[in-house]
Every structure is written in C-alpha cells, then in structure tokens.
C-alpha cells in the first residue's frame, strides 16, 4: 500500500462514505451489536444494501481487541463489521440515549445482542423504541431468549449467562462432536453465533415483507440455542420416536451417525471426505471402486443395511482409499463418477482455490491502517439485484459527525458540544496496539461508561 493514512486527521479527511446497493437498499438499520452474532447479522444486512449504523459504547466492541491484529486494526472486528457506518457514544449518558431514539425514529430495523436486560436499563428496549417508531422491527439475539415485557417466548433458562460455546453445549451439538470413547469437544468456529445471525436475518426480511403489507413492526427474539436445536438434523424427532429406556445418540468420530459411508476417510497421503447419502450415489461409488456388484449385495443395498454392516462396507472403502492419494481418489470419485467427495482444506488453502475465486467469494477491502486484504464475499448470489461488500469496517466513531449531521441535522457547533460533554467520542487514536484495558481506562478518564 502506497499511502495508508496514518493520522486521525487523515482518516477523518478520507472518511469513507459508501452508497449501499442491493435488494435492501433504502432500509436503514440501527446496530447495537457486539462481538459476533449480531455483528455478523448486521453485515449480512449491509451486504444486501441496507444502510447499517453501528452504535458502539464508548469502550468499543471488545472484538476490536481480537486477532489477527495489523497496524492496530483487528481482523475479527473487520470481518463482522465491514460495510457499516460507525457511531460511538457514551451509552450511559441521557443525551446519547436521546440521540439513539432519534435514530430509531428514522430506522427500519434495530438489532442488538446484549445480555437480556441491558437494553432495558439503557432505555433502548423494544418497548422504548416502539414508542418512538411503532413500525420498527427489533431483533434481539441472546443465549436463551429474552424475558421482559413484550418478549415473545420467555422460558426458565432465559436469565442465564450464555456465550456461543454454552449454546453449542446446551443444544446437543457438542455432545455429538468427537469420538465416542473420548470427551466431546467444541466446534471449530462459533457456529451458534453465526448460525443464529443467519436465521435472524431471515426473520428480519420476512418481517420487512410483512411490514410492506401491514405497516406493523415487531420484536424478533431468536436465541442461540433455538437456531442450534433447529439445526440438529433428525435428532429431536429421532429421540422422540425412541423408547424411553433407549440411550441417547452419541458422537461417532470420523463418520456421521445415521448415514454410511459418510465422513472422513484416509487416503495414502492424507485425509479427505466422502459423502454417500443415497443409493444412486452408493451405486456410483461401487462402480468407481470397480466393485459394481456391491450395490446389489443385500448386505449393502440400502442405507439401512449399510448401517447394519457399517464396519464391513466402510472397511472396503478404507482399503480402496489407502492405495491411492487424495488427488487420485477425488479424481476417480468426484470427477469421473460424480460421487460427492472432496479435499479437506485449511484457510490458507481455500483462499487459493479457483472455484471460490470464480464465484467471487473473496473481495478486497481497504482499511485505513491495516491496508488492503480480502474478506468473504456475499454468499447468496442474486441475479438481478445482487448484494456486495459495501465497504470497509469503521474506526471507532469514524462516522459520528456524518451521521449526526446527515440523519439528524445537527450543526457542527452542536456536535462539538456533544464531543465536549463526552456524549459522543471517537477513539481513533486507540487503533494502534488497541487493548480493552487501555480503552476502558481512557473512557473512564474521559468520564465514559464503566463496564
């Protein structure tokens, strides 16, 4: 990068304003999100063209401290917040709360993932925002659901503290992850957060569709545990069919529990995956292995029989794989016989994969300090009104002045006063070697909120 701006003034001078494009253009979102689930949701909305205003408390989203860090900017934060405008305020200050409500008046959607009760304490819960904007669609993400006034579905666990890892545990997902003779282990990424953000996005656009017809807003309250339980394949139905004394299903290591042969297999040089989920594909696998008669063998002809003789059929497949390299196996299985199979890629491998390149799944963005690098593109590809990665992630408070002026009509003098009174803050100077302790001390020193 030739000229990365290095001072705060440079950043403000180069303030990045991007007109969003996509099917949701014209929709405005007030984003009180932190860390992962709701920030990812906000980025999905932004990708589809919504104008997303991320409101950060004066100490900043804690993911600004999560790696990888380059020139003080956090890859974690950027991934989940690209394409948003950044407004940073002291959310304990009544004037700041007033500004949030003014924004709520002109926004269509509000998203938040604070612990249930926090938004109420701030005076920014659904009850408060619908007073100023009855049509607002208010979307909350929490571990077990909200439980205060208007909450659609409170339950006994709702007050519990919850992170992603807890939701993955309580929903049954972790119990199924790992080998049967060892302890289960956590999933590879925070699936509860990301899966819930995705499910919440669907509900928001459904609510927008309804609002076009009826004008009414609503509160959407999907919890991490809800989306993860809904994403349990056939497990809930399975246990409901089982006799009472039947033991609960248990994790099954390298192969999925209820389909065979389906999972990780070892070729001569490395591991790869084969996924045979129906008889047509099984017949093609047998063909590919040069043993077409197996497809008609009564021991293996249906998934039911393959599960009964699991060790035998998977043993045959293992033996076949062991004689070939991953490349050879995939060429024969996937390319020549249309059997679902593929290599197991790491992050540094998939970024080089030509298939993803062809699908534009890597899009360059330019951050003011960290420079140019690639982020994931838009997964849902629309032919006529496609979404796009709208722009970079905001520095803390980068768009304070822009938002207050453009949306709320404040003058520079009034905004200066907000700065003087520490209603509005920007912590652009904290972008180097950012860490939360420094941020909190600084905010405290400035009279800001304590956490």
């Amino acid at each position: 990068m030739a000229d990365i701006p290095k001072t705060n003034r440079d950043i403000l001078n180069k303030q990045r304003i991007f007109p969003p494009r996509g099917p949701l253009s014209g929709i405005r979102v007030l984003d009180f999100s932190q860390v992962l689930a709701a920030p990812y949701l906000g980025t999905m909305l932004s990708d589809m063209g919504a104008e997303v205003i991320k409101v950060e408390a004066s100490y900043g989203d804690s993911s600004r401290g999560y790696g990888p860090i380059k020139e003080g900017e956090a890859g974690y934060y950027i991934t989940q917040n690209r394409g948003k405008y950044g407004l940073c305020m002291d959310l304990t200050h009544p004037t700041a709360i007033g500004i949030c409500k003014e924004l709520a008046k002109i926004c269509d959607v509000c998203i938040e993932n604070w612990r249930p009760g926090v938004m109420t304490k701030r005076g920014l819960d659904y009850a408060a925002l619908r007073e100023v904007n009855p049509g607002i669609i208010y979307a909350s993400v929490s571990g077990f659901g909200n439980f205060d006034r208007y909450a659609p579905a409170p339950g006994p666990y709702s007050p519990r503290v919850c992170y992603d890892v807890i939701a993955a545990a309580e929903s049954g997902q972790q119990w199924m992850n790992g080998f049967p003779d060892q302890a289960p282990h956590g999933l590879d990424v925070s699936w509860s957060d990301l899966n819930t953000g995705t499910h919440e996005a669907v509900a928001i656009v459904a609510a927008l569709i309804q609002r076009v017809k009826t004008g009414r807003g609503q509160w959407i309250d999907i919890a991490l545990t809800d989306s993860m339980i809904a994403s349990n394949e056939n497990m809930i139905c399975m246990v409901s069919m089982a006799a009472g004394d039947e033991p609960a299903p248990v994790r099954n290591g390298l192969r999925r529990l209820s389909i065979s042969p389906y999972g990780v297999f070892k070729a001569r040089d490395d591991y790869f995956v084969i996924g045979v989920d129906n008889n047509k594909r099984f017949a093609r696998l047998c063909e590919a292995m040069g043993k077409p008669e197996l497809a008609r063998d009564p021991k293996f002809d249906t998934n039911f029989h393959r599960l009964e003789n699991r060790a035998a059929i998977e043993g045959i497949v293992e033996a076949w794989c062991a004689q070939r390299t991953v490349e050879e196996c995939i060429k024969i299985l996937r390319n020549q016989h249309s059997v679902p199979a593929g290599p197991i890629l790491t992050n540094t491998e998939y970024v080089k994969n030509p298939h993803y390149r062809a699908r534009q799944m890597f899009v360059s963005i330019e951050q003011p300090r960290a420079g140019v690098f690639e982020m994931a593109g838009v997964a849902a590809k629309l032919s006529r009104s496609p979404g796009r990665v709208q722009g970079a992630a905001p520095m803390m408070g980068e768009h304070n002045r822009y938002i207050l002026k453009k949306y709320l009509g404040y003058s520079d003098t009034e905004i200066d006063k907000f700065y003087d009174e520490l209603v509005v803050v920007d912590n652009l100077d904290l972008a180097y070697d950012y860490n939360m302790d420094v941020a909190r001390a600084k905010a405290k020193e400035k009279g800001g909120e304590k956490r």
């Binding site: 991934t79 992170y163 545990a169 509900a203 069919m241 999972g263």
Partner: protein, 410 residues
C-alpha cells in the same frame, strides 16, 4: 391433514423440488414463517424417506425437514407431469430446488423456463458448490462443503485426524442462507415487480461463517490448526469432562478466571505464573488448563459443576444429549421443540428456530410432514382448478402417484 399457517409470510406460495437437507430445510423455514410450501416429489419420493430411524414406516429424517408442507407426487419422467409442475410454478411466488447438477435442466424446470411462465418468480437453488464455477458440475453435500470451506480441517485435536462436524450444522446454515437470499429477492419483487434467480452454495456460506479464520489467512497469512475446540487466546474456554457427562465453560476475562480458580479451590492460580492472563491460559491450555480441569472434574457431577459455576457468575452449560434437549421445559416454553401428529407415526417432536419467536403474529409449525402425494387432489384443485375427473385421469395414466401406507425398508 390440514395445515395451519401463521406468521409474516402468510399468503406467499412456495414450490419446492428438493431432497436431502439444505433445500428442504429452507422450505421448512419458509413454512414456519407462514408460507404455503408445496413439496413436489418424484415417484420414489425424497430419498430421506428411506433414511432411519422409522416409526410406522415414517422416517424421522423426512419428518424433521418437511413438517408443515403439503406434498404432491408425480412421475416426473412423464412430460405431462413436468407441465403440471410448470403450471403450479406459474401460480407460485417462490421456487426452490437443490437437485444434482444438470437434473433440473433435464426436467425442463430451470429458471429460464419458469420465468417464461412466471416473470415475477423468485427462483432459488442451493447446492454444495453453487451453479457457477469450475466445481459446479459435481454433486456434493454438507460433508464435502464443510471440508471445502475450512471447517473439517479445524475440527478435532492437534494430534488427531480432522473430524467432520458431529451434526451437519452447515446444511442448516446454508439452507437459511437460501431463505435469506430468496426473501431479499422477494422483497425486491414486491417493490419493483421483477423476479430473479438466487444461487447459494453451502461451501460459499461456510467460508462466510469464518469468525476470524479468513482474516488470519488474508491479513497475516496464518494457517489455522485444530485446537480441540479450546480457545487459543482466552481460557478456560471449551468442553471438559465430569464424571457423568461433559460441560462447556466460557471464560473471557482474568477476573472471571479468578472466580473459577476460587470455585475449584485453587485461588492461588488466579495470579500464578503461566495462569494469570488470558494469553497465558490460552497458550498453556494443553499443558496447564486441560489437565487441571480434567483432574478436578473426575469425581464431580456435571450438573453440580454447572450450578457451581453459575453461582460464581461464570458462563457454563451442560453438554446436553438430545434426549435432554427434547425433554427440557425451556425449549418447550420457547416453542423450539414442538410436538406434531404424523398420519402414521402419531405424536413425534420436531424443532424450529422460528416458532413463537416473533411477536406479531407469532409464527408456528404448521403441522406434520406429508405422506407421498398426500395433498395431490387438494393442490391441483385449489391452485390450478383441476376437476376430479381430470385428476382421476392423471392417476390412471401414472402421471401422479401416491403412497399413503409407507413401509419401513427392511
């Protein structure tokens, strides 16, 4: 069986030609949100009808992904059947498919064809690789998409093999992404009148749900390794064993670690060298934290540990089995686990992310999953106004099929 629709999408009609997981899951989401979802099946039926376990011939797999839909079944090898699907598509708002590459073209039901009969239609495809790009000609499924999308390589222990995710969560995330894409397109259609094609690849979605993993590669060129699900930069953050089960604990700050250290009777560790900071605990997790908590948990019950941590204000939860999830009163109260009555299997439970979670009106699971061709007459009569005589003819010619008495495969 009559279905009861309630939710933001009431009045929206969806035609689904999907099998397996991610496509049918998208249809189930739309049904939970109130849409009328018509599932078109070929003579043999969705292959998940043959995946166990079964009760009275009905499959748990099929029920889980197809509750709340109406079912119509044709012999799609017959031209007349394909014409009828086209007629239904002409009267639908949304069409979704997840067949193997090339199959929907072979049926003559691809977007270019359907947009001729219904220019406003929103047409969604979901597949392992997507419908463009060099790999799009190959079939795939969740296990392949997770491997291609960087998840399998990172699931497991540093000294063990890469493991598939225990549950195909990526299929559901990909199915939800299709619902997201088509509903964005449908909103666009309401506002502008234009329909369009939506192409979702589960592999793409797997790359999008990256947390910071893609940034590791693109910002600092670091390869992510397997870590047993234990967080590399904070801790303890992961799953640990108790004497009778497992639990997850999520400690994000040093103060919280102090409370944990006190709760397990080792207060001195809160400030000890190698333990004091998040970075220490993350770095030394294999040599310090995992052995410590594994030893400590050996003689303690899972639920006692969860209670103890809860009292210490530390996020902690049981690694519940699905039996426990199924019986848990919280998920019943939330409408997440719901009982439905299947025509043959009787009362069974299914799960929904949406039922009850919206305030106005509250969505619900519309009802059971259909038997093969269960709603043939109803659909043809109500959607394209066919007469009973015409329908009887379709049965006679073998264009339309029905099986109201499924047998468990043996």
């Amino acid at each position: 069986m009559n279905l009861q629709a309630q939710g933001p999408l009431v009045g929206v009609r969806v035609l689904e030609i999907c099998e397996g997981q991610e496509g049918p899951y998208c249809g189930a989401i739309l049904s939970d949100l109130g849409a009328e979802v018509i599932k078109v099946e070929n003579r043999e039926g969705d292959y998940t009808r043959k995946l166990g376990p079964f009760k009275k011939g009905e499959s748990a797999y099929y029920i889980s992904y197809n509750r709340g839909k109406k079912g119509i079944a044709f012999d799609l090898s017959k031209q007349e059947a394909r014409e009828l699907v086209k007629e239904l598509a002409a009267k639908s708002d949304i069409f979704i498919e997840n067949l193997d590459p090339g199959e929907i073209q072979a049926l003559g039901l691809n977007y270019d064809v359907l947009k001729e009969v219904n220019p406003g239609i929103v047409y969604g495809s979901v597949s392992c690789y997507g419908r463009t790009g060099p790999l799009s000609e190959y079939p795939g499924n969740d296990i392949v998409a997770e491997a291609m999308g960087g998840h399998t390589s990172a699931n497991g222990w540093p000294d063990g093999p890469p493991e598939p995710l225990g549950i195909a969560v990526s299929s559901h995330c990909g199915g939800a992404e299709l619902a997201w894409g088509i509903l964005c397109a449908y909103l666009h259609k309401i506002l502008t009148g234009h329909g369009q094609y939506v192409d979702v690849s589960v592999s793409d979605k797997n790359i999008s749900v990256t947390e910071n993993v893609l940034a590791l590669a693109t910002m600092v060129n670091a390869t992510r390794m397997r870590a047993g699900g234990h967080h590399p930069i904070v801790g303890p953050y992961g799953v640990y064993m108790a004497v009778d089960g497992a639990y997850a604990i999520g400690c994000g700050t040093n103060e919280m670690w102090g409370r944990i250290a006190t709760a397990i009777g080792r207060p001195e560790l809160s400030t000890a060298e190698g333990w004091a900071t998040n970075l220490d605990r993350g770095k030394n997790r294999l040599t310090h934290m995992i052995p410590l908590l594994t030893e400590w948990g050996k003689d303690k019950k899972r639920d006692d540990i969860v209670l103890l941590m809860d009292e210490s204000n530390v996020p902690c939860g049981a690694c519940a089995t699905h039996k426990e999830v199924h019986e848990n009163a919280h998920y019943r109260a939330r409408g997440t686990v719901v009982d439905i009555v299947q025509p043959k299997a009787g009362t069974v439970s299914v799960a929904s992310a949406y039922a009850s979670k919206m305030s106005d009106p509250r969505p619900m699971i519309q009802g059971p999953a259909p038997l093969l061709g269960e709603h043939n007459e109803e659909i043809l009569q109500s959607v394209i106004c066919m007469t009973s005589e015409e329908i009887a003819k379709l049965y006679k010619q073998g264009v339309m099929v029905q099986d109201l008495d499924p047998k468990q495969p043996t």
